[in-house]
């Protein structure tokens, strides 16, 4: 069977979530700020058109941006997490397999759809109608091509949000219009190196002999080139760009019905996510945990997600695991057969930029411990050394001045509708 992958992601996802419940933001420039209102982490096209760069410190643009009529919100991860869960639940209806890649991006397996492009368009319309979130979908025989197709769908309005690169002829024509730095996994440094060899667009990159690709780009680069030419590489693992965040999700090997098993699952996810964080040199300001039942099983359905903020952004596996267990426990209800769980880390920052907290000074020995743990696992294999027990301390709180209400997760914060 011919494989068809889709990459679907929310357009300006955080901003779109804000717009669903606050129509006054529609058609206006909107930006969403990182934790503690540090810098811009999401922008609508209107804000991009005003020249607001990604990641710019908020205080630098505040006055001129607001004067020009721009709107701003603190990040509201309770809302984004819930909307993400809903969007993925729609994907589950359309795809055989959904791999949550980050809070706003998922890979879908659409191989069994008779007409994948038409299927993707119906899915996109359904997501928009059911959740209010606009998305773009890229289709291709490999994940790298699905990602490239997604990029094209975003850039070219005439495609109506869906770009299909499964057809080789159409693919060759469209890849020629895609710059190599926009190819998944090819950074700025590699682009410069490739340009020196006369490779400037994705079609040229796809046509490179694998051997020379390996010489210039190393093994990962060679796999990217292979995938770009339509050859599926199952070993390919590309971590999302640091700013995007980290997601670890797994379907359970067997149904999970007890809290103890669920805690073990999310603890394992959290430890794995911690490894990825440290490998990328990032720290997470909060952790999101979700789990749900299988739609294909004729049994009561349940899908939950929750979030916990850290007083100081952390990459400590033990802190992540403890928080993940607390959230899992808080969300728990007996009587359901759970099929899948995951943790997501978003809004990642450089640990050096973490705002210190007077009351929660992290123990410096913990960082040493994590380094030692990573070194042991690197040498003797994954999970050779892992945190065992976790403590259940009280969670903490965070200041976010411009945050919108938690419209979908708090009874006392649901939106108000006028009957006047």
């Amino acid at each position: 069977m011919k494989r068809v992958y889709a990459l679907s992601d929310g357009n300006s996802f955080y901003c779109s979530c804000e717009r669903v419940f606050d129509p006054s933001l529609i058609d206006k420039p909107v930006v969403v700020l990182s934790n503690n209102d540090g810098c811009v982490v999401a922008r609508t096209p209107e804000a991009k058109a005003m020249g607001i760069p990604m990641g710019v410190p908020w205080f630098e643009i505040r006055d001129s941006y607001l004067k020009a009529g721009g709107k701003v919100r603190s990040s509201n991860y309770a809302l984004y997490g819930d909307m993400s869960r809903r969007v993925n639940a729609v994907y589950e209806r359309f795809a055989d397999e959904v791999e949550v890649y980050s809070i706003d991006e998922s890979f879908l397996d659409l191989s069994r759809a008779p007409d994948p492009e038409a299927h993707a368009r119906v899915m996109r319309d359904t997501v928009l109608r059911w959740t209010g979130i606009p998305t773009c979908v890229g289709l291709g025989p490999t994940r790298v091509l699905a990602k490239a197709a997604n990029h094209l769908a975003k850039k070219r309005a005439e495609m109506g949000g869906v770009c299909d690169l499964t057809d080789p002829e159409r693919r060759a024509a469209l890849l020629a219009t895609l710059a190599i730095e926009d190819v998944w996994g090819i950074g700025r440094a590699l682009s410069a190196r490739l340009a020196a060899h006369g490779v400037r667009n994705a079609a040229q990159l796809a046509a490179m002999p694998p051997k020379s690709a390996r010489q210039i780009l190393s093994v990962t680069g060679e796999r990217i080139v292979l995938e770009l030419s339509g050859v599926h590489c199952s070993a390919l693992e590309i971590t999302p760009p640091a700013k995007k965040g980290i997601a670890v999700t797994r379907s359970f090997g067997r149904p999970v019905t007890t809290l103890a098993e669920m805690e073990e699952a999310v603890r394992t996810h959290a430890v794995r996510a911690g490894e990825k964080l440290r490998r990328n040199g990032r720290a997470a300001p909060h952790i999101q945990v979700f789990y749900f039942t299988s739609r294909h099983r004729n049994a009561p359905q349940r899908s939950v997600s929750g979030i916990e903020h850290f007083p100081v952004a952390t990459s400590d596996s033990m802190a992540l695991a403890a928080a993940a267990c607390r959230v899992a426990r808080r969300l728990w209800a007996d009587g359901f057969i759970y099929a899948k769980s995951g943790v997501m880390l978003e809004g990642l920052i450089d640990p050096a930029d973490a705002v210190p907290d007077l009351w929660h000074t992290p123990d410096p020995r913990r960082a040493e411990l994590m380094r030692a743990m990573d070194a042991v696992n690197m040498r003797y294999g994954r999970n050779m050394l892992a945190p065992a027990g976790v403590t259940y301390q009280r969670p903490w709180s965070l200041k976010q001045d411009l945050r919108s209400p938690r419209w979908t997760t708090r009874l006392d914060e649901v939106p108000t509708v006028m009957a006047r």
């Binding site: 129509p23 729609v90 959740t131 349940r302 808080r330 209800a333 006392d412 006028m418």
Partner: protein, 148 residues
């Protein structure tokens, strides 16, 4: 921060403590009824009022324009975005950027939005007004006794 614990909206989940088991027999002293071996599955009110959890959201009502449809000031309404609008529906409509509850009617062959409160007359929209339907109200919840 007890984010999901206290405030969770039971759209997708119900605290097991809220489930109402249906018993086969009345409570009686002495021998238990043999019918009590046949306790039914617990009733789950959220399954009654929410058929498509993915597309269902709660809104809080403020104002009295819907009283003839039994929707009162302070009620919660359950809104499903996946339904196609039909004549007679109560909807959350976004009119010029403002969310409001309206009834969908057919007048002179056109679908129009209106109040459900005679004292308010008919809704008159300007030519320039923009209205879109956000979702269809499927249930409204009125609290008749404040619980501490």
């Amino acid at each position: 921060m007890e984010m999901m614990l206290r405030g969770a909206i039971p759209l997708m989940q119900v605290d097991p403590a809220c489930l109402v088991p249906m018993m086969g027999a009345k409570v009686c002293a002495g021998f238990p009824s043999p019918a009590d071996d046949y306790i039914e599955e617990a009733l789950d009110p959220s399954r009654l009022i929410i058929t498509n959890p993915v597309s269902t959201f709660l809104w809080r009502v403020t104002g009295c324009s819907m009283i003839e449809r039994g929707i009162l000031d302070g009620d919660f309404v359950v809104v499903d975005r996946s339904l196609t609008v039909k004549v007679g529906d109560v909807v959350v409509a976004i009119i010029d950027g403002q969310p409001s509850l309206k009834v969908v009617k057919r007048r002179a062959g056109r679908l129009v939005l209106d109040f459900a409160n005679k004292a308010m007359g008919h809704l008159q929209l300007d030519e320039t007004s923009e209205a879109i339907v956000w979702g269809v109200v499927t249930w409204s919840l009125t609290q008749h006794r404040k619980l501490s």
